[in-house]
Amino acid sequence: MRVPADAAAGAAVLRVELESTTGKKGVTTRIPVRLK
């Protein structure tokens, strides 16, 4: 994942989702990250 250079340093969130056409269910997960 390329993080833009103009992003502010500090706290951010990585949101991860499953998009499935096989019937599987996913739970959107929000993972705290830090940008350096």
């Binding site: 994942m1 390329r2 993080v3 833009p4 250079a5 103009d6 992003a7 502010a8 340093a9 951010a12 969130v13 990585l14 949101r15 991860v16 989702e17 499953l18 998009e19 499935s20 056409t21 096989t22 019937g23 599987k24 269910k25 996913g26 739970v27 997960t29 993972i31 705290p32 990250v33 830090r34 940008l35 350096k36």
Partner: protein
């Protein structure tokens, strides 16, 4: 027909209210050292559950595992020692599941890490953190024990394996674990990569951040490489 079948299978999974999960252990052995507790519930409906307790002492690590899920950890055949090779403890078959083994940690707060073949086929391991490079902390009592759901039919959640830091202005490699959630965010299980079908079960990661002026900034990436 296939979609209906898939829905029926998915519906078999029941989310549990972990605050109400029965944490009573009917009988425990006399531990030589400090016991560390985890509860494994592979049953989609939550009915079958087994306690795992790692007894860490100067005399060596011992695992007690409730193979028949009756809550009695004192029964013959439910006490395991590491193999001669080191930290691995092989349990083997566990009901309809197979190849259950634990890796006992030598340091840190993690007592052990486990892996198994769900119904003899799908590899599931745990526990994994929401982020970081350590494994789930086991409880110092049944009350504080993490509950793992090593189950094929659970909704897929995610954890970030690695430091939760991304570098601005450059590409970052992101490694995710995917699988059933447990009782706390840091009690994930991970299913083997073949559980998710490339191109059909797509994992989308979106970075939500701000720019220097406080404007919302979003970067969307599909995780295409499974391993």
């Amino acid at each position: 027909m296939h979609l209906l079948l898939a829905l029926l299978v998915q519906d078999a999974y029941v989310e549990l209210d972990y605050a109400k999960v029965d944490r009573a252990i009917a009988r425990e052995p006399a531990y030589a050292g400090t016991p560390h507790y985890a509860l494994l519930i592979p049953d989609p409906k939550g009915g079958v559950r087994s306690w795992a307790v790692v007894d860490k002492s100067a005399a060596g690590d011992v695992l007690y595992f409730d193979l028949d899920s009756d809550g009695d950890l004192t029964e013959p055949g439910e006490r395991f020692r590491p193999t001669e090779l080191g930290r691995m403890i092989r349990v083997g078959d566990w009901g309809e599941h197979s190849d259950l083994e634990f890796i006992v940690a030598t340091r840190g707060t993690t007592a052990a890490w486990f892996q198994m073949k769900y119904r003899g086929k799908l590899e599931i391991s745990g526990g994994w953190p929401l982020s970081g490079m350590t494994h789930t902390k086991w409880g110092d009592s049944p009350k504080t024990a993490p509950v793992f759901r090593p189950c094929r039919d659970a909704p897929v959640t995610f954890g970030l394996w690695g430091e939760a830091e991304l570098k601005r202005g450059q590409a970052n490699t992101i490694t995710l674990v995917a699988g059933p959630a447990g009782s706390v965010p840091d009690a994930l299980c991970s299913v083997a990569n073949e559980h998710l079908v490339p191109g059909k079960d797509r994992i989308i990661a979106t970075l939500e951040a701000r720019d220097a002026d406080g404007r919302a900034l979003s970067v969307r990436t599909e995780i295409k490489r499974h391993c």
